[in-house]
């Protein structure tokens, strides 16, 4: 393997392209028409243009394979999201004679369909969450399918009991998932989940699981190579979620003992081996207070929160993906975790307003620096945050000798992070670091709902803030779009340099 195309964008594309460069591979990126000059294209030796704008461009598997074939590419890395868990795309890559940097299409298929995965795991002896699959064969008539699903869900819900989680079998990342408190909300939840799942994945099938309130989301990283070696790299805790999406992740989990780690690791390896897994993957569990754990799903790709595992284990997961795809044995020593790592996801969103995505220019984007910090970003100062893509801009990751020190470091780092021009969740993340449940390591998947029953609120503006605001307001300011050049956002400092009337 000498040349790798990364079929993705944003921070994960940057992450993978850098790994390719470090491995001495020719790094090829792709970009939609509205992402010429985006950060990930800057990380690559060659960037190929895709037709169209927004997500559809990156979802056009045929175009990507054709571009790869026309440009001497040997392998395709899908990152996460987009085409990463589409077995059909993986198969098409292989059929085109290219290397697929991921597990086999059959492993993706069996794990990607959450219902099949549940069944596979149950049969492999891995404990699953009490629940029920809704087996309605898609007829092609959405109205009929919806009706049949509604009937089956109503009936299954009586056996599973409320509160329950309704999940799209093809879902992921919180899409197509609904918590349902009682029979009242069931129908609307089914409609919404199906609609979202069909839009995002083209597959509206759903299943039910008992909603395990107060449980922790604990997941185990696995790596398997083509030489028959499968290892686990310890666990991550990702309980802190908003809208079913992780925002705050840490490794190791503060309450997992060495013995528990061993047992979960073995279950994760069993899960991977049940589908002849090769590559990097994550087996997610829900863990109850007494340490009981249930299989949730397996993600057959690199994961957003992989950096925290890298920091505590010293393993470069993406580099290992490249080694494994090239047919080499992985270069992973025996598991030895050191220190504590925390990741927060920087989203362009308004945490004070239901986490609604926000857009705007990154007029100032100055990440913190210093010891124990890692920033995986897909944007830099001067970029525009567009509504066409996922609002995750970057990930800030800290590593320190202990959990307390990691939290202290994260507070410091978030205090230093300056982003002006687009509303982000940085202040919300900073508040998370002081939350009782976070400080005492008693987080669960309902921590955020419990902490902010009425939503999170912005700190009020102090007198010093209003004074500075008054001075800034008196400056001429920038009206976006009034530059005569074709370039993006004007320098934020234009107004300052011309401050005097």
């Amino acid at each position: 393997m000498r040349s790798v195309l990364v079929a993705n964008r944003g921070e994960i594309a940057c992450r993978v392209l850098r790994a390719c460069k470090e491995a001495g591979l020719r790094a090829v990126s792709v970009h939609a028409e509205d992402e010429v000059g985006a950060m990930h294209t800057e990380m690559s030796d060659l960037s190929l243009s895709l037709e169209g704008s927004g997500a559809p461009a990156y979802l056009n598997g045929d175009a990507i394979i054709a571009a790869a074939l026309a440009n001497d590419v040997d392998g395709i890395h899908p990152g996460f999201g987009f085409l990463s868990e589409r077995a059909g795309f993986a198969q098409a890559v292989l059929d085109a004679g290219l290397i697929w940097i991921g597990p086999s299409p059959s492993a993706i298929e069996r794990m990607g369909d959450k219902m099949t995965a549940r069944i596979t795991m149950r049969e492999a002896g891995v404990p699953v969450i009490p629940g029920e699959e809704i087996e309605i064969e898609p007829s092609g008539d959405e109205k009929a399918d919806l009706e049949a699903t509604l009937v089956a869900v109503r009936s299954a819900s009586e056996r599973v009991g409320f509160p329950l989680l309704l999940k799209a079998s093809a879902g992921g990342g919180g899409k197509g998932m609904r918590a349902v408190e009682s029979a009242d909300g069931l129908d609307e939840a089914v409609r919404g989940a199906r609609r979202e799942a069909i839009a995002a994945f083209g597959d509206g099938r759903v299943y039910l699981e008992r909603l395990l309130r107060g449980a922790r989301h604990v997941e185990v990283q696995v790596l398997a190579d083509a030489h028959g070696r499968t290892v686990h790299l310890g666990e991550r805790e990702c309980s802190v979620q908003r809208r079913h999406q992780k925002v705050f992740e840490e490794a190791p989990c503060a309450v997992v003992s060495e013995d528990q780690r061993q047992r979960m690791g073995e279950a994760a390896i069993a899960a991977a081996e049940a589908v002849d897994y090769v590559g990097a993957g994550t087996v997610e569990f829900l863990m109850e207070d007494d340490g009981t754990f249930h299989f949730l799903e397996m993600n057959t790709r690199i994961q957003v929160e992989h950096p925290i595992t890298e920091l505590v284990t010293g393993v470069d997961l993406v580099r290992e993906q490249l080694r494994i795809a090239a047919g080499e044995p992985m270069s992973v020593p025996e598991l030895a975790m050191r220190g504590h790592a925390i990741e927060v996801r920087i989203y362009a969103e308004d945490a004070a307003n239901g986490f609604l995505p926000s857009i705007g220019p990154l007029a100032v984007f100055r990440p913190p620096t210093g010891p124990g910090l890692r920033l995986d970003t897909g944007v830099r100062e001067g970029d525009d945050v567009s509504p066409s893509y996922d609002p995750m801009l970057a990930k800030l990751i800290v590593h320190a000798p202990s959990r307390d020190e990691a939290l202290q470091r994260m507070r410091r780092a978030l205090d230093e992070f300056v982003i002006l021009g687009t509303t982000t969740n940085v202040a919300f993340l900073r508040d998370l670091c002081d939350l009782d449940a976070v400080v005492s390591a008693t987080t669960s998947t309902t921590t955020l709902d419990d902490a902010y029953p009425n939503g999170w609120e912005v700190q009020p503006a102090s007198e010093a803030v209003m004074a500075l605001a008054a001075v800034l307001a008196s400056s001429r300011g920038i009206t976006r779009g009034d530059n005569d050049g074709p370039s993006g956002p004007a320098s934020p400092f234009l107004s300052l340099n011309r401050r005097y009337p």
Partner: protein, 154 residues
Amino acid sequence: MVDLRTGDDVHEVHPLPRGDGWIVDGIEVTPLADGRWQVRQGEAVSLAYGTRIGDVVWMHINGRVHRIEVIEAGAGAAQEEGSFSAPMPGGVLDVLVATGDEVTAGQALLVLEAMKMEHRITAPYHGRVVAVHVTQGDRVQQGELLLEVEASEA
């Protein structure tokens, strides 16, 4: 004189030039290099980043970002209470109410799709829908008026 909005409040502030910078209500604001500022309130000195973009001033001070609206003299009246405008560009997935409907606080009025996610616009109070400006399938721009709800007497 400048009018600034935070939340529902409008503040009138008067920066006065003084030396290299300004004084505002006894607080000294001094420009440093490249978009950075020094703010001194008695013994407390803070360093900040700050800039103005359109009608919003943005600043980072004491570890926090603040975003404050500037109300320009002569600008049009602020958005009427009860008007719901699109918080971001997107598509209208579903309109759940019609003109004349009574709605209760928290009731979903409209579903928008943006950034691959669904966003639900809900009523903040009990009231009556007096106008609906969009229909299912419409593309809307940020700030575009979607619908109007009149609060009922409490």
